[in-house]
Symmetry: C2
């Protein structure tokens, strides 16, 4: 039984990767850079976007908001005057816990790809399954809040291992926590050696310039021929 | 396709519920009260257990630790001298994001059910799928950290709707957050009217007595005939 189950899962992930490649081709054809923004619930993904999306120096951004239900984050971002498309996962399962390539593909007709340079896909808040499903992104960003503890890279290694950037958020709270920042950074390094990290506080704005510059840098990259 | 997928999922959940009932029968037969402890990653489940498991006034507790990988939380609890059994979900899927009834069933032979009165099942940190899978528990406890924001009950309603207690943790951080506690409590009330709530800080110990009393109260309940 167990081997059959693993085979079924592998087939499903293969099918997902095929659709992810088709998404990526569509994004590349329109010169749209796509980043997949992932974290645990409440780590600050939406606040990090609120901080930078209105000031991207001529780079035209759009957002695909993934949520089980509702449009709370999309409503927050609407005031920034960037196009935001809501994708809810609840028709599938009482709520899928992640976005997959097919869900993103189903949203493509709603996305103004001709009018944007950078698409941020805000995934469902979850440290497990979002890491397993590519959606056609150029890069993956993982937001880790210092309030979650130092051990998260060790407990959810796939998430930390498959990203191109780790944003350590809520550093304004460090004086009020029993938290060992060096231990967190060492744990990140252990599961994804050399991955870029940045320390930010979406609340106070500390480190937000570096976060904005990273997004601008991604958007400026040439699409590989 | 969509209807077929929903049917497959419904069948899977039906099968899960059947196994959950068998687990519950086994627990009842041994007079073991079972609570399923759920939250987002890093909300403080393990710290809340560290606070009370060593001082349960004669109630003999045991823990079933659910994690994708590793035994970090089980190692933390070992010093309390309660029996702790580790259950890893990674053989199934690059890491299942929740416990299901069959996983718990597979761990039953490892659990010293004859020697305990209260079994705490610490689920995988995730606000979506753990809510969908009963494991044979008598009661579900949801831990919500104030650092996660006020909107979580609205974004992950099934989790908040299917629990018997909401523990609002990390209240020692309230002075340092832009957080509206009344809004969180109103959102909890909106999705699960009347559900008991308690405000605690596992870090400072505030409210921990009420948390211990709630567990003792559960353990003292008669098993329905």
């Amino acid at each position: 039984m167990h081997r059959v189950k693993v085979r079924v899962v592998e087939d499903a992930l293969d099918a997902n990767n095929t659709i992810a490649r088709a998404n990526r081709d569509d994004f590349d054809r329109r010169d749209v850079t796509v980043v997949n923004l992932m974290s645990a619930p409440g780590a600050g993904k939406t606040t990090l976007l609120e901080r930078v999306l209105g000031s991207l120096d001529g780079v035209r951004a759009g957002v695909l908001e993934g949520d089980v239900q509702g449009s709370y984050d999309a409503d927050r971002l609407a005031s920034l005057h960037v196009p935001v498309t809501q994708l809810n996962t609840d028709p599938g399962f009482g709520g899928e816990c992640h976005l997959d390539a097919n869900m993103v593909r189903s949203a493509l007709p709603e996305l103004p790809l001709e009018d944007i340079d950078l698409l941020v896909i805000e995934n469902v808040g979850n440290l497990v399954c979002p890491a397993e499903f590519r959606v056609g992104e150029d890069a993956r960003i993982m937001v880790s809040s210092v309030t979650e503890g130092e051990d998260k890279p060790l407990k959810y290694p796939l998430m930390f291992r498959t990203c191109e950037l780790v944003v350590v958020n809520k550093i304004d709270l460090l004086p009020h926590l029993d938290f060992d920042l060096d231990a967190l950074l060492a744990n990140i390094e252990a599961v994804n050696p050399g991955v870029p990290r940045m320390l930010v506080s979406a609340r106070t704005g500390e480190g937000v310039d570096a976060w904005r510059d990273w997004l601008l840098d991604q958007a400026a990259r040439e699409v590989p021929a």
